[in-house]
Amino acid sequence: MSADNLSSVILTLVTFTPLVGGLLLIMFPRRDRDIRVFALVLSLLTFVLSLHLPVHFRRGLTDFQFQIDRAWISTPNIHYHMGIDGISMWLVVLTTFLTPLCVLISWNSVHERVKEFFIILLILETALIGVFTSLDLFLFYFFWEATLIPMALLIGIFGHERKVYAAVKFFMYTMIASTFMLAAILWLYAHTGSFDFMEIRGQIARGAVPQFPAAAQWLFLGFFLAFAVKVPLFPFHTWLPDAHVEAPTAGSVLLAGVLLKMGTYGMLRFNLGLFPEQSRHNAWWVMVLALIGIIYGALVAMVQPNMKKLIAYSSVSHLGFVVLGIFSFTQAGLNGAMFVMLAHGISTGALFMLAGILHERRHTYEISEFGGLAGTMPVYAATYLFIVLASGGLPLLNGFIGEFLVLSGAFQAKAVYGILGATGVIWSAVYLLWMYQRVFYGKVTHPVNNSLGDLSGFEKSAIWPCAAASLVMGIAPILWLGAIDPAVQAALAPWTQVVSRVVGQ
């Protein structure tokens, strides 16, 4: 099949390959090794398929590419409409990149119900990819809700002590919030007769939607609430630490790496795309919430005795940067927000894997249980340091680029936002390095830590790709930004005037 032919079905292939794999796994006999190998092959295949996207992506075009649009259900008018732009493409690739790593990191750590685990993981991957590729609001909601169940099952079945509490809390929080989005989607359908993102966007822009001005603020809030809980934006973040602490490593990786990005992606695509004016009006309080999230998340992370909780709160802080960037309405801010999403996905994913590795050896995440590990696990310590530096925003690694761009965007919007946001960078260095110091330096206080084994082959193969990606993203961000920038410009088109005025101040 030539590349052109493939391009028309590639999104369908990428989205549903994991699902097909998951369904095939159901028929597999319960031989754990075969199941693991099969899951790995399937997720790698998906990754390779998804590489078709950046390779054949036409940079510079602002339109959605690789589109496929077929009528699915005639009443209501629902289409199977998929397509990606520079924003969603990288999120798809991020998902397909992280999933094989999740399989690898779970290779030896999941012993029970192995078959169910990998089935759920693969189904989750399909749902996650679907969220980013859908251009039909209905289809989007469909995948959005579909991510809930596998994730809740991953936490609830394979998690730690308080897994059920965490799973139910996660499910209820996000489910209730997204019902508001459903109401908003239904309103849009009732008044435009379409679920198609581009069609609705066009109608709103032309002012062709009856009663829109009166309802727009509510619609904005309906979408925003669903996304804010997912991100999670302060004060909707309380489910996140629970979910992370109880989730198995692979669950945490996908939760932090991809699931949270569904929220920020939704804001970028739907809040900004459909309700440009309302986004502008509401930007001030959203940015304030984002700043609170950045600083509060960092401060709370600093005092956590539990390593995984620390990383979870650091996610609250990092995702605050993303929201800050998105609602700064500057090109730099949005580029930065996108880049932070990708960088955070990789570095925090790796941090969770590293935390999981310790948990597997010691069955605890308490920082005070460790100390002096640099001597007993040198490779692990070095890898950890690398990832910590990437996450903390050391120049030449991926965390730096995104945060820098976001902050310069925030400065353009309002200097005080930039200044406050910049303190977040300091805090993140504090909590990460302090945690690193307590875990790896000093004397070995617990004798049991003397016998801990260093990274195994599977663990290396799961984490080192993240480290490599962090480095490449830090050195050559243009490889990513080249595709992101035109999409961001297109997203910003409604404000170009406004922004130039703000910048000119």
Binding site: I73, S74, T75, P76, Y141, F142, F143, E145, A146, L148, I149, A152, L153, G156, I157, K163, V164, A167, V168, F171, M172, M175, I176, S178, T179, F180, L182, A183, L186, W187, Y189, A190, P210
Partner: protein, 509 residues
């Protein structure tokens, strides 16, 4: 001649086509009577099975006969019965429910050691009443049909004769149910006083022509009370948990779906054809109350049957939301909802009554612990039905809610929609509790799970297929529902202006 709406006293005798139009009812009655007659003739142990199979054949034959019925649409028996897409839809639905109930009863009757052939006869005869409700357009006939179906349900509720709970449930249901039907009858009488007719079409026409007399409001309200009781809508829902807890499992599956579907069919005809002003608020309040009370009540239940009882109250609430919408969208959304609700709820009750075992011992949430490990297939089946009840995409329950709420949004019922979607979010919690018990908790005691017998397997497969079909390819069923809704609305269209799609309030309010 058939379609003349003039009082058909000129016809001395019913036409032969008239009999075709009630063919499913005739078939069901005949088979019901065959079961009754054979029952004393057969040896007890063996007879049970044979009678069950005869009943199954009866429902299948009736299902087949709906095809003939569908071929000759029109009025029958002096404008008392109306065969249109709408009534065919409900006939198929109700009879299919009966077939599934009979299939899932085989094992139940054997395990519970209930030996009584009249069980099957009562199901068949009850279904006659329910089916007739969906095609009757004459209030007196509707009342008779309602009584037929109710009396059968009262008796069926008390079939676990050795259990006090069952007798209590039966008595409670009977007493309250009689009150409710009396309300309905009183409403019919008042409506006759207000309009001089008991024919729904004529009532609709005369209410449209003149200013609506006060009596008509009272009449509609009273009829609504009677039907609200049957569909277990708040505030007429108090009986539901007790009766569902006491009644035999498969019968709860029947009671929570088929009579509800029939009552909703009647309600649809009454509410949309007799387009009384003020219906909106009546339904608005009832729907909001049912959703909220049902879901809140279900949150604290430990008995799965009671939990599903409260859930069925909540679902009646969601369904009522459709009644507040515009006629076309509302009717088709409600029809779709009844169908998918029937599929998922029947399935859930079939699993629950299989799992309950002899004497219905295992019905608490505690008993479901570890079911995911001990019998994965049963647990997975129940999970899918529960996910559908939550309204997760890819299941019928999702589209059901989706159509209902989108009809409500189209009618500008924003607050009702928000109450609805919030409720469906809250409702997820208690269904989830069951799933959590099955998959995420370890069982402490041994709960024996019998292998699934063939008949029950078929019943579950039918429910599952319907749930997934409606979740993945809802177009066909919805289109059919829309077409038949159109027929129902249009019949009264020349005289009754249909409210504009954007306004929720009837034009005359």
């Amino acid at each position: 001649m058939i379609s003349t709406l003039h009082p058909a006293y000129s016809q001395a005798l019913p036409l032969s086509a008239d009999y075709v139009r009630i063919l499913p009812e005739i078939v069901l009655s005949v088979f019901g009577m065959i079961v009754m007659v054979l029952e004393p003739l057969l040896e007890e142990e063996q007879g049970q099975k044979v009678l069950g199979q005869i009943a199954l054949v009866g429902t299948l034959a009736a299902l087949g006969s709906t095809w003939f019925m569908a071929q000759s649409p029109g009025l029958a028996f002096f404008n008392m019965v109306q065969v249109d897409g709408f009534s065919v839809f409900f006939h198929v639905l109700i009879i299919a429910i009966a077939a599934v109930v009979i299939l899932s009863s085989y094992e139940y009757m054997a395990v519970q050691r209930i030996r009584a052939g009249e069980y099957y006869a009562l199901i068949l005869l009850g279904v006659v009443g329910m089916a007739l409700m969906s095609s009757a357009i004459e209030l007196v006939l509707i009342f008779i049909a309602l009584e037929i179906s109710s009396i059968a349900s009262y008796v069926l509720t008390g079939f676990r004769r050795h259990e006090a709970a069952s007798a209590e449930a039966s008595l409670k249901y009977f007493l309250l149910g009689s009150f409710a039907t009396a309300f309905f009858l009183y409403g019919v009488a008042l409506m006759f006083g207000a309009t001089g007719s008991t024919n729904i079409d004529q009532i609709g026409r005369s209410l449209q022509a003149a200013p609506v007399p006060l009596l008509a409001f009272v009449a509609v309200a009273l009829m609504f009370v009677g039907l609200g009781f049957k569909v277990a809508a708040a505030p007429f829902h108090i009986w539901t948990p007790d009766v569902y807890e006491g009644a035999p499992g498969p019968i709860v599956g029947l009671m929570s779906t088929a009579p509800k579907a029939a009552a909703f069919a009647v309600l649809l005809r009454i509410m949309f054809v007799i387009n009384v002003p003020g219906r909106l608020w009546l339904i608005w309040v009832t729907a909001a109350l049912s959703m909220t009370l049902g879901n809140v009540g279900a949150l604290v239940q430990d008995n799965v049957k009671r939990l599903l009882a409260y859930s069925s109250i909540a679902h009646a609430g969601y369904l009522l939301v459709a009644f507040a919408a515009t006629p076309e969208l509302g009717t088709s959304a409600a029809m779709f909802y009844t169908a998918s609700y029937a599929a998922m709820n029947m399935g859930a009750f079939a699993v629950v009554s299989h799992f309950a075992g002899a004497g219905e011992r295992y019905v608490t949430l505690e008993d479901y612990k570890g079911l995911g490990r001990s019998s994965p297939l049963l647990a997975a089946t129940l999970t899918i039905f529960l996910l559908s009840l939550i309204g997760i995409p890819m299941t019928g329950g999702f589209f059901a809610k989706f159509y209902v709420f989108s009809a409500a949004v189209k009618a500008n019922l924003i607050w009702l929609t928000i109450i609805g979607v919030l409720n469906s979010g809250v409702g997820a919690y208690y269904y989830l509790r069951v799933i959590v018990m099955m998959y995420m908790r370890e069982s402490r005691k041994e709960v024996p799970v019998a292998p699934i017998p063939l008949a029950l397997g078929v019943a579950l497969a039918v429910c599952m297929a319907a749930t997934l079909y409606l979740g993945l390819f809802p177009s066909e069923v919805l289109r059919y529902a829309q077409d038949s809704a159109q027929q129902v609305i249009q019949r009264s269209a020349p005289e009754i202006p249909v409210p504009a799609p954007v306004s929720a309030v009837p034009a005359s309010l």
